[in-house]
């Protein structure tokens, strides 16, 4: 009897212990999940993020500190003017730019591409739209650095690739153009219901506009390789011309950043270091009586349009009365100013160049050139009367040799691309227009490029230490990791 009691006692002790153990484990399991986040989500929310990032990226430090100053749109003060002095000791910033480009657009769009290509969530239309955003995202990165991880890029989560190999820019461009062709085919015949109804930041899910965006962007890519792979360029351009292209400002891929502090140019303008519009831009606009002058430039405290010369050395800058120079215009630097990644105006001007270069058709080129100017003026709500008079001015008429005409197109492209300054810099690198003169004057800083406009960003030491083998391979292929090494398409 006692034995049985003892056994019962022991059994009950063991049972109590087991119960305690399992309930302990339940306690842990119950609080394992992060209550501040979700483990699954509709890819629409990631698509919106990537798309928004693509536009917000046009205002990041790669543009504000580097591209915008390289392209002589503006000059920043204090330490940020070191970039304008063509120096290259910005290791952290090169890393930050690359990290943000991959972390903003690519990280999220790669997730969308994965979700929309597998299982229950497979959706070709969404996949095609995401693919367009991915291509647009990669295009900016390769334009900035040259060779970059592309086929293996952004796959840290989906495929656990932490040291992605670099692809040549040539391969990337060729592939991007073919991806877009495929995307255009899918989107042309797609049902908007399958796309992102009520979750599409650019065109409110209007797929015809998505086709125009994809095709116009493809035209940009095709023109970009004009000097590097002329045959491919001609072939793709002709394909693009047979598909719908952006024609009116209503086609523009733009967005207003309503979140947070709004448009970053507003923060930069009101913050520190200050940004002042370049002398080059103000001279160009005022010398041609361009009605976009008051759009892109504000008058200074004394009511004048006063630009800052790019590239001054420290002593000359100290004496330059920088603080009195003109700010950016309110239309492009208010909290609610639009951001752009592709416009109809640019598309027309690309077509002008294509007509001139590929068809030798100066008349058609002039027609598109004028269309580009007109569309740009409309984009900025210039009064009709001013549009008419500006179109009547000699600036709006292509004349002279092919080079002179290309320079005219280039200058208008440079203006029309405002405020997509990064694309402005890429355009100048490819065409050499408008001419950014070599710095020879004593009051100018020649930097590490002997006074020539830098042509790329550096691979950061962070990238070299975390992905060294692959970066080395890219440097072998592309040339020294310097800011004046041209990228593949830059044959100018």
């Amino acid at each position: 009897m006692k034995n049985i009691q003892n056994k019962l006692k022991r059994i009950s002790v063991i049972m109590v212990l087991l119960t305690v153990l399992s309930s302990c484990q339940n306690l842990l399991d119950d609080i394992y999940d992060n209550p501040n986040a979700v483990t699954e989500i509709d890819d629409a929310a990631l698509f919106t993020n990537a798309t928004r990032n693509l536009l917000i990226q046009t205002t990041d430090i790669g543009v504000y500190r580097f591209a915008g100053q390289y392209a002589h749109y503006f000059v920043a003060g204090s330490t940020v003017r070191k970039h304008d002095q063509y120096l290259d000791n910005f290791d952290d910033e090169y890393n930050e730019v690359m990290r943000n480009m991959y972390g903003g657009v690519i990280r999220h769009i790669e997730d969308v591409l994965q979700i929309t290509s597998t299982g229950d969530t497979k959706n070709d239309v969404r996949h095609a739209m995401a693919d367009v955003i991915a291509v647009m995202g990669y295009a900016v990165i390769t334009d900035a650095y040259g060779d970059i991880p592309y086929t293996e890029g952004g796959k840290g989560k989906s495929e656990d690739i932490l040291t992605p190999k670099y692809d040549s820019q040539q391969f990337i461009y060729t592939d991007m153009m073919s991806r877009l062709a495929n995307d255009i085919n899918i989107l042309k015949n797609a049902d908007p219901k399958d796309a992102y109804p009520r979750s599409e930041p650019l065109f409110d899910n209007d797929l015809s506009k998505w086709v125009k965006l994809a095709n116009s962007f493809r035209l940009r890519l095709a023109m970009r390789v004009r000097n590097a792979d002329n045959t491919l360029s001609r072939k793709v351009v002709s394909e693009c011309l047979s598909e719908p292209l952006m024609e009116n400002p209503s086609d523009d891929a733009s967005m207003i950043q309503t979140e947070g502090n709004g448009n970053n140019w507003y923060s930069y303008k009101t913050g520190f270091p200050e940004i002042k519009v370049s002398e080059k831009m103000i001279d160009q606009l005022s010398n041609t009586s361009d009605p976009r002058l008051p759009v892109f430039v504000s008058k200074n405290a004394e009511g004048k349009y006063l630009g800052q010369l790019n590239g001054l050395n420290d002593v000359a800058f100290g004496a330059s009365q920088f603080g009195k120079k003109s700010n950016m215009g309110d239309a492009i630097s208010s909290k609610d100013s639009e951001l752009y990644v592709m416009t109809a105006a640019e598309t027309w001007l690309l077509r002008a160049e294509a007509s001139l270069a590929y068809d030798g058709d100066a008349v058609k080129a002039n027609e598109y050139y004028r269309k580009g100017i007109e569309t740009s003026l409309k984009q900025w709500d210039v009064e009709d009367a001013d549009i008419v008079s500006f179109l009547a001015s000699p600036t709006a008429e292509l004349t002279g040799t092919q080079n002179q005409m290309e320079e005219q197109i280039g200058t208008q492209m440079w203006i029309a691309l405002t405020p997509d300054y990064f694309e402005g810099w890429s355009y100048i690198r490819r065409t050499g227009y408008p001419v950014i003169a070599e710095r020879t004057d004593d009051n100018l800083e020649r930097g590490v490029t002997n006074g020539l406009m830098p042509t790329r960003f550096l691979y950061s030491t962070h990238e070299q230490s975390t992905n060294g083998t692959n970066v080395d391979e890219a440097i072998q292929r592309q040339g020294a990791n310097k800011i004046d090494t041209p990228v593949w398409w830059d044959k100018n």
Binding site: L28, T39, R52, N89, M98, L162, S267, S465, N467
Partner: protein
Amino acid sequence: MNKLLILWIVIGFSITAYSQKTVTGQVLSKDDNMPIPDVGIQVKGTDQGITTDFDGNYLLKNVNDDAILVFSYMGFKTQEIPVGDQDVINVVLETDNNTLDEVVVTALNIQRDKASLGYSVAQITSKDANLDIVKENNVVNSLTGRVSGLQVTQANTGVDGSSRVLLRGVTTISGSNRPLVVIDGIPVSGGGSGATAWGGTDGGDALSDINPDDVESISVLKGAGASAAYGSLGMNGVIIITTKSGAKKGGIGISLSSSFNVQDIMLSPDLQNEYGTGAFDQFAPIGDDGRPVLDYPFAWSWGPKMEGQEYTNWLGNQDTFTAQGNPYKDFYRMGNSITNTVAFQGASEKNSFRLSVTDQKSQGIVPNNDLNKQTYNLRASSHLTEKFNLDGRVSYVRSNVKNRPELAEGPSNTSLQLSLMPRDVRLIDVKNNTVDEFGNEMSYANDPTFNNPYWALDNVYNEDTKDRIQGMISANFDVSENLNFNGKSGIDYINRDGTYHAARGSQAIANGLGSYSNGINKSYIWNSDVLGTYKMRFAGINLNTSIGANYRKEFGNSIYVSGRDSKTDDFYRISNYKTTYSSDYSWQKAVYSFYALAEINYGGFLYFDATIRNDNSSALPKDNNSYWYHSENASLLFSKLFGIESDVFNLGKIRGSYATVGNDTGPYRTQPVYHVSQTPTLDYAVASISGSLPATNLKPERSTSWEAGIELGFYNNRISLDATYYETETTNQIMAVPISGTSGFTTKVVNAGSISNKGIEAQLNLIPVETDNFSWDMGINYTQSTSKVNSLNEGLESVILGGIHNAGVTVEARPGEEFGSIYGTDFKRDNFGTKLITDSGDIMKGEIVNFGTMNPDFYGGITNNFRYKNISLRTLISGQYGGVFYSYGRAYRMMFGTDQRSLEGRVGGIVIDGINEHTGLANEVPVPAMLKQFSEVFSNQIATNMILDATHIRMKEIVLTYTFPKSIIQSSPIQSLSISAVGTNLFFFYNAAGDIDPEAGFSSGPTGTALELGSLPSTRSFGLNLNINF
């Protein structure tokens, strides 16, 4: 009580006839003649023993006449008394000032004889460290220089700033490395904080809420052998704090303690007084508005020599160009602190309590920086029955801090601004001209990243209030003489409410739009323990075994709102802001554990103990969240074993320990998730993926260590030495390793890498003089420790632990190097190390190099205690040798031309020592001093000249105490009365960095001492303290 005593005596007499008899008596303390409970009484050479009861009485049966009774109690000198024909042995125990041969509090609050321990433990009593006299805001600061292996540094971050606390160096790359803090058996929150190089404030230290007046003793468990019983919590060592409990008094005792101290500037940078505003030896150009255009570099002190000449000052007024002296003295105020404590304590036969209230008011040297703190503490215990007792504590702290100073590169860092202000600018002008007619901030420089320091004082505000409640209850049940159960549960709850706002009008802050934030954080840590202990004695062996379990839960919840662009002035609520943001966050984590301990004592000279513990954590992957830790410790009293103990050589002990402990991680690092973005203006959803890739197979960090030590005592411990050598290797480091951004992600959480720590710790105590009227004792402690990075994640060259971006300086962990190596750019040099100089006489940018480690070669302290009759003088000197830090503060001052050292070469330029890069000949071309500094600090970011030696010796503390003799206070109700004069951080005996305090960083993180940036002046304090007991 007396009746009982008589009864014992009668019984005692009645059994004298037998050879084995019963001995009774009472044990009293010599200090206050009060009974001492729990005194151990053992028949020497046997395992027969007993302890005194609550009134100090004991009764020991079956004692032979030739037996020797050993009376021992923690903190008192052990007495041995031969029984002979006595039946009543009343004993008066003397307090023992020697640190060896004592009972110490070890892991899980188990009290053990220090001689039995196989690892190094330091126990500091309140009296040893003057805790209740000096009253450091953070009680751990009082341990600086007193405990080998423990490094405590406090940055200059205003009142209630946090401290950097490290035990045996840094062991983990990404953890806080702060030791676990346990109060009365319950682990509490012990986090610290600090600013970043970009600015911010020091939010304080959870350890600051421990009231020094309530602390009885602090026990420091340095190594894993000592802390293995805490499993994954104990990896960084443990600091065990025991609070005061109700002392044995007849009736109720009242203690009053009152202290007042003032702080003034001990050290501030040396500024030059010869050159004023301008650049290139010129005044700044005058603008159209009649004011100089003070863009950089013209707002620096590279202008003309100040000779009293007329010039246009920054306000546009005619003025004389003269130096304005030390701005720190005028800008900062004398700080002060007043602390008053009243404590009631009492005890009856079965119950005791201590209730204390402390009020502390402090004013920092930065005007507006105030602390107001109240602490209520109740400790009570009750013997409900002979075998069952309860002990409990509840404390409530309310602390309010206003205007924690902004630090480092923050625009409102007044110290940085003052150090860079052109040397001719009159502080009174700055004070009287903070805002212009449009309401915008005015400043002597057009650089809007810096505030006018007076504008900052008037317009930038922060305040935080913390309510903290700690409760603990412990039940102890002695089932039999051999079996004991203990259950404990305690909670540490913190509610912290912090608000910040800045007015409109300053470019430096929120683009001049004004900003506001308010955050509320709640958190608790809740711990419950049960422990059963069984004692066995057989064949000369004492064996204690214990089995226990622990459940720990941590919880946090925060709500935060912020806004910018204010609608109306002087109104600070979220409704007043045009752009707003809000967030909330909550987290929880739980760990349950089982553990077992065994402790074997053979013959009183050989001790062995072992611990095993199993932790199960919710922060680790679900199917792999259980881990084992263990320790084995041995101690051999060889002096006893070989019977060589004598008056000359009274103690010889060797000890050794081996242990494995661990460290899990914060919650939610093992699962990929999507965060839903707050997008009030959008009608579609936006979600994001964190840039840090989770580790789905995460394991805890693992630290394996061993240590060996020796303890020697001579001349009855008038000379005693305790030395330890240890090695620790921490592997499976949990770190978010930086990965290539091209993967789409910036970091990935991994288990990787290993860090090795090695060190020597020694403590030497001397009592050169010990007489009734005069005594002198001295303690010297020495610590040498290294912490070397063996490896990181494969392919990873370096983990950046901190840095100053604008200077290109980083603090790094690199394989094969010391943790916390400081990297920066050196001059360009030839193969022989000679600087290469350009044709224009300027330096060039060279390689990025390792300038050395922040870790000292060795550090330590010397305490001296002198007592002459009723006067005692206690001093503490602390210091370190070796270690470097980078001062961007000095770099800034050199570039701005305000530093004393920037006077070099003002006339005629500086011929830099080096060779011409083209000719190879010695450089003879002078470069203007301003361009040299500009080129070195700004254009080329060369760190070499700003890497400073952190070697220093500091007069840390002097306490002079007069205790009124009993004869004077006899007729009053006062039982004891003492008055003390206190001075802390008084001066440097030696400071290699000259005008910069090497501990004056901006963060209390593991690398907090590596970087300095415009720190607040170091302060010293003088004060008086009065202690009265009724």
